[in-house]
Subunit: 211 residues, 2 copies
Amino acid sequence: MPQADTKTRILDAAEKLFARDGFHNTSMRGITGLARVNLAAVNYHFGSKDALLLAVIERRIVPLNQIRQEKLQTVLEKAQAAGQPPSARQLLQAFIEPTLAFRSSGPGAEDFIALIGRALSEPDETVRACFIQQVLPIFKLLFAGLHQALPELSDQILLTRLQFTMGAMSHMMCASTRPVLHLPGFPEPLQETEMVAELISFVCSGLEAPC
Amino acid sequence: MPQADTKTRILDAAEKLFARDGFHNTSMRGITGLARVNLAAVNYHFGSKDALLLAVIERRIVPLNQIRQEKLQTVLEKAQAAGQPPSARQLLQAFIEPTLAFRSSGPGAEDFIALIGRALSEPDETVRACFIQQVLPIFKLLFAGLHQALPELSDQILLTRLQFTMGAMSHMMCASTRPVLHLPGFPEPLQETEMVAELISFVCSGLEAPC
DNA sequence: GTCTATAGATTGATAGAC
DNA sequence: GTCTATCAATCTATAGAC
């Protein structure tokens, strides 16, 4: 694809730069330069820099959320059919695996994962609100499922532990493109598949910790 | 203290705004306005905006690291005296508790914790490098201690799980001043002391998960 | 739809009086 | 040390020709 659509080229360039440099440290000139389009094209196609960010996020998060929702619902339905509570591990797998597998879904998807991995710690209210709004339905589904899987935990404790889970997960999503703690004298980071498996084990054990 | 030192007022104002709005979204005029000092004062006292950020971080992280280092070394020495490996829980306590207790160490310390909580996911290389450089010695001490506490884990797995730990911890540090997932229909977040205890339990279980 | 040109605001930094 | 005034660069956004 030597010459994609102008809108697409802008989205791709913005995704890359927002992920790499952060929203406020990315200029329209940087985006249009990388996309090889005219400076005015962003405002023509998207209206503003803020609106462009929303478009960047929504383009990918809608299909991602659909996958996560389907997987979560499959786990919940199978458990219901078997007359048993769902397993915490399967629920977490349904939430986490598609998110990181999404990275291989195409060029730029990697940047996107880093971008939304940072969204939870993003200082800018606009960015965070957009992300949370998009993820909220999935998060509720996960919360309800885990409540059945771990009935001994109070709502408050479960939410707290789920926040730690989100923290560990976002950190891994950020670290994908840019090694965060890869330093001389420390071992090489794991490959992605093993990393995901480790993350799921880690948060499973954490969620199931004794009270 | 109605009128602190000019340098101190600048540091306090910058800390607050960097934590709240992010480094690139904070202007010198915003800082000097809040500090009620002249615009030129920042460059006179610190040289540049970048140098101001370093000063903001170093002012607090040096005493914090000293506390963490002392606590870690106490745990390690007691274990050595008893001829036993240190306990993972005690090591994590020594690392985590002072960090969050630091919030109560004075006005503004809370902002600082949010600031360094976000540092790991910070896109800006300058910010992240400064933070990592400061934390590295403590991190190495923690890594070595956990290696003794959990000898069945390979270096690679231990590092991976320690990264998840840092992720959960940073997320909690960010969330302190600004509720991240506190939404209608969800329970109230825990109080700080209970939250810290929960975090320690969570990451302990995660680190000790079967391979 | 794409371009040039530019408005209009804001930025970090500095020179020089006091 | 603190101030005013300002530079030079950069930013987002838009008007208007093609």
